[in-house]
């Protein structure tokens, strides 16, 4: 079985500043991987490279055995990759249900249909409500995104990604800006994601995400410094020096 994500020798520089420097990593199917590093370590750029929003200068990205290095962003969703955003990026004028329907529609041929009424597709809306129930927001399905709290919006972010039943899920700081209680909810939701989905999470704050991680990758100044299972990385002197010791 091919790896969920295989990154080989990835490089990216903006002007003279090298942001990603020869990064290679392999994420097995169903694995829970945490990528950490201090501010400016190149975590978000690495995500951008994997998601296709940024083109690498060198190296390759394989997702579930497909070479996606040159694939545009929308084609990667079709390969089985989904992501959430650090800065909430939802359709705020629409209902929660409509948001999830747009996510479902993204992988259906129905999306090209320009003549039948979308509101008539109750099956899609029912499925959307079911997905919202999974993140505990079923009762809010008919509310507008602008009417719900920030913490709830984070959960909708997750519902949008899960709607596409990805085999590789990229979570970009899913705990950013949340209260202690809200963090706990998100933590549980992530823990409930089935094992068919491999998860790669970026997190700035190591303490929150430590429980989640099976393997951890530490980035520093665009380079991969330490990689291994949780205990090994946490106890590694390099990690302590550049990350925990600050």
């Amino acid at each position: 079985m091919s790896a969920a994500l295989e990154v080989r020798g990835l490089c990216k520089a903006f002007g003279g500043i090298t942001v990603t420097q020869n990064v290679s990593l392999t994420v097995e199917p169903g694995e829970r991987r945490l990528i950490i590093g201090p501010n400016g370590a190149g975590k978000t750029t690495l995500f951008g490279l994997i998601a296709g929003e940024i083109r690498p200068d060198a190296g390759s990205v394989h997702v579930l055995g497909h070479d996606v290095t040159r694939l545009p962003v929308p084609a990667r969703a079709r390969v089985g990759m989904a992501r959430t955003y650090q800065i909430i990026n939802l359709f705020s004028r629409d209902t929660l249900a409509h948001n999830v329907v747009l996510s479902l529609l993204g992988l259906l041929p129905l999306r090209r249909n320009a003549f039948t009424a979308l509101a008539g597709r109750t099956d899609l809306y029912q499925k959307a409500v079911a997905l919202l129930e999974r993140v505990g927001l079923g009762h809010r399905a008919q509310h507008l995104i602008s009417e719900i709290s920030y913490g709830e919006q984070r959960r909708v972010e997750l519902a949008l990604a899960l709607a596409q039943e990805p085999r590789l899920l990229l979570l970009d700081e899913p705990f950013a800006g949340l209260s202690q209680d809200e963090r706990l909810i998100i933590k549980q939701l992530i823990a409930a994601i089935p094992r068919e989905t491999a998860i790669v999470m970026i997190e700035h704050d190591m303490d929150i995400a430590l429980e989640f991680a099976e393997r951890i990758t530490v980035l520093h100044y665009g380079q991969l410094i330490v990689e291994g299972d949780r205990d090994r990385v946490v106890n590694d002197p390099m990690t302590r020096e550049i990350y925990l010791g600050h």
Partner: protein, 310 residues
Amino acid sequence: MKRSHFLLLAVLIALPWFAGEFYVNLASQILIAVIFAASLNLLVGYAGLTSLGHATYLGLSAYISAWLSLRMGLGHAITAPAALLLTTLVGCCFGWIALRASGLGFLMLTLALSQIVWGLGYRWVGVTNGDNGLSGLTRPAPFGIDLSDSGAYFWFVLVITTVVLYVIARFVNSPFGATLRGTRDQSRRMSSLGYDVWGIRWVTFVFASFIGAIAGLLYVYFNKYIHPSVMSVTVSAEALLAVIAGGSGTLAGPVVGAALVMLLKNYASAYVERWNMLMGIVFVFIVIAMPAGIVPGMRTLLQRLKGGQE
């Protein structure tokens, strides 16, 4: 809501029996402006792409149909589909160019492209007859029905307007319409959800230019004359004004907005010499009082009057 639509339609159908010729002709012009504004609204309101060059498609289809019938001696059965097809093809090319950018860049590109076509209309005298325009045109007679009478032509325009607005309503409420609004609100998210944002915008651009071409045909049949000024930036801006004043991104918005612009232009100008100034004042008032446009503004007003929450 539905009942008021049918009532409006019934009044319009009966219009030629009780209204004078001036008003029937004015009503035809309003409907043509409605189609044109509704096509522009697809871009401005639903795609979030503000175009300042939409008159190109109105003018091109009018000119192509006029030229084919005058210079090639072809009948309406050929000139009409040819004009629609060729104009839509130009829409394909111009959309491909203009959609290299979005926002202000898109606006400037549509403006620049339309200025090229407008310039050709004036300068390519051999084809367009320049500033003299093309005259001596006729109206078609679909299924042998003579449309030279103002009432008959009004009904013809009314039928086409109804069909066009119905098709646009279906388009907007379809899955594709929902994805189009998605690209307007969160284009980055849409592409990570698997949508080809550029393709969605381009298809909409082409569709809008096709509907604009229909308005162009009705325009040239109505006037039986075509002049390059129809492709000027003023015409594009007027339609944009109609969309914004009526309420962009709503189905009724461009209908109300286009009616308002045409009434001010044709009706008020008979009484007020400085009608352009009057139009300016009216629009300033709309933008201040109802920034989202007349239709959304009225909706909020009605809701408040009913005592309900917003």
